[in-house]
């Protein structure tokens, strides 16, 4: 009788073990699958988990006085030759002012004067581009080109692009990168930011333009149980998904 009870106990114990193992294996395989897609299971990569390690690869202004070539695209801003036909305020640091938004690799219309100047540079962590437009005036049209590269081992998606500028006296165009675009690992896209100063712009003033691009990992299915739990609770995804 005692032996029978012991046998039953062993069967119950075995059942629990199987259930627990099944759950662990299911969740574990979800976790492992996610880990493979990200490629960051190594402890050494843990610090890089919160960022994409500088996606901006290059930036070019079309009014900084030099034609810039970027492989494999060639000359990005032809016509930015540092000249000032009838007037040259900035010397070789700027060119005849653009009078229209430039297409990458194609010369654009320019005034015969070099009055304003636009420079652009990337921060050392390659996550921020700064654009400085100086001595601007109505109908000045500088264009800034940039490269955005997925430096991670997994695909990323452009989740949102937020363009804000504080006044209607500017018209900002942004293209080349769009919400929903997916960048596979190592892929680079080129973007363009055009700024047009409108007639109503005030003299001797400073205006700010900000473009925020939010990138997320493309595959979300590996978020595990919490992903679905949060969706069930709130009907949408939180920051972690």
């Amino acid at each position: 009788m005692a032996r029978l009870r012991g046998l039953k106990r062993q069967v119950r114990l075995g059942r629990w073990l199987i259930i627990a193992l099944a759950v662990v294996v299911v969740l574990g395989s979800l976790g492992v699958a996610y880990g493979y897609s990200s490629g960051t299971l190594k402890a050494g990569n843990m610090m890089a988990m919160a960022c994409f390690n500088g996606p901006f690869t290059w930036v070019v202004s079309n009014d900084d006085g030099k034609v810039t070539s970027i492989s494999p695209y060639g000359a990005i801003d032809p016509g930015d030759d540092g000249g000032g036909t009838n007037y040259d305020k900035w010397g070789g640091q700027s060119s005849d002012d653009p009078s229209e938004t430039q297409t990458m690799g194609v010369e654009c219309a320019r005034y015969d004067k070099d009055v304003a100047r636009t420079t652009a540079w990337i921060s050392c962590d390659r996550k921020e581009i700064t654009v400085l437009v100086e001595n601007a005036y109505p109908s000045y049209y500088p264009t800034v080109f940039f490269g955005l590269k997925n430096t991670q081992s997994f695909s990323v998606k452009i989740k949102s692009i937020d363009i804000s500028y504080d006044i209607p006296e500017l018209t900002v165009t942004f293209d080349g990168v769009a919400v929903g675009d997916v960048l596979s690992s190592g892929q680079e896209v080129t973007g363009r930011l055009g700024i047009h100063t409108e007639q109503s712009a005030r003299q001797n003033s400073t205006y700010d333009v900000k473009v925020k691009i939010e990138l997320v990992q493309k595959e979300k299915s590996g978020c595990g149980w919490w992903y679905w739990w949060y969706w069930w609770q709130w009907g949408h995804w939180k920051w972690w998904c």
């Binding site: 581009i129 437009v133 333009v209 919490w226």
Partner: protein
């Protein structure tokens, strides 16, 4: 009995711990997101045109308010009288004269020479950032005459012919 409960307890705790750790890992992985930005600052230039009095004929007096010159001639005889105005671009953007308006009273002729609509004046520090215009007035005889000359300026690329 006590021993059996303890075994289940340990087993349960182990399972829960495994579950929690995997779930927490799931949250950590899902946190991969990044925001990059482009920050632009635009500083605009400005236009500042200053008119100042130059040489003038005897019997001619003038005052300047803004971009308008108020001229009075106390003519002692028939003839031509002149008033010269210096136009100086003190701003940072080249400008052009869009229009020169003359309003006369007293029945005489007045013309502006030296500058005209379309004349370009470069920004301060670059030649020619200063130009000279002459208002030539031909009066028919003795008397008092007056005229106003108003200059309107526009940034060079917005000049309309």
């Amino acid at each position: 009995m006590k021993r059996r409960r303890s075994r289940f307890f340990h087993l349960g705790m182990l399972s829960i711990a495994l579950l929690l750790s995997l779930c927490v890992m799931g949250i950590g992985y899902a946190g991969w997101t990044d925001t990059v930005s482009i920050d632009g600052t635009m500083k605009t230039g400005y236009i500042e045109m200053v008119l100042s009095e130059g040489d003038c004929s005897q019997n001619v007096t003038a005052s300047i308010v803004g971009h308008t010159i108020y001229i009075e001639i106390d003519a002692g005889c028939k003839g031509e009288y002149e008033y010269r105005v210096d136009i100086h671009n003190m701003g940072t953007i080249p400008v052009k004269i869009q229009d020169i308006g003359i309003v006369r009273s007293g029945g005489f002729e007045a013309v502006v020479s030296g500058v005209w609509a379309g004349t370009q004046i470069e920004q301060s520090g670059v030649n020619p950032h200063k130009v000279y215009g002459t208002v030539a007035m031909t009066v028919p005889g003795t008397g008092t005459y007056s005229c106003n000359v108003t200059f309107s300026f526009v940034q060079w690329n917005l000049y309309e012919e």
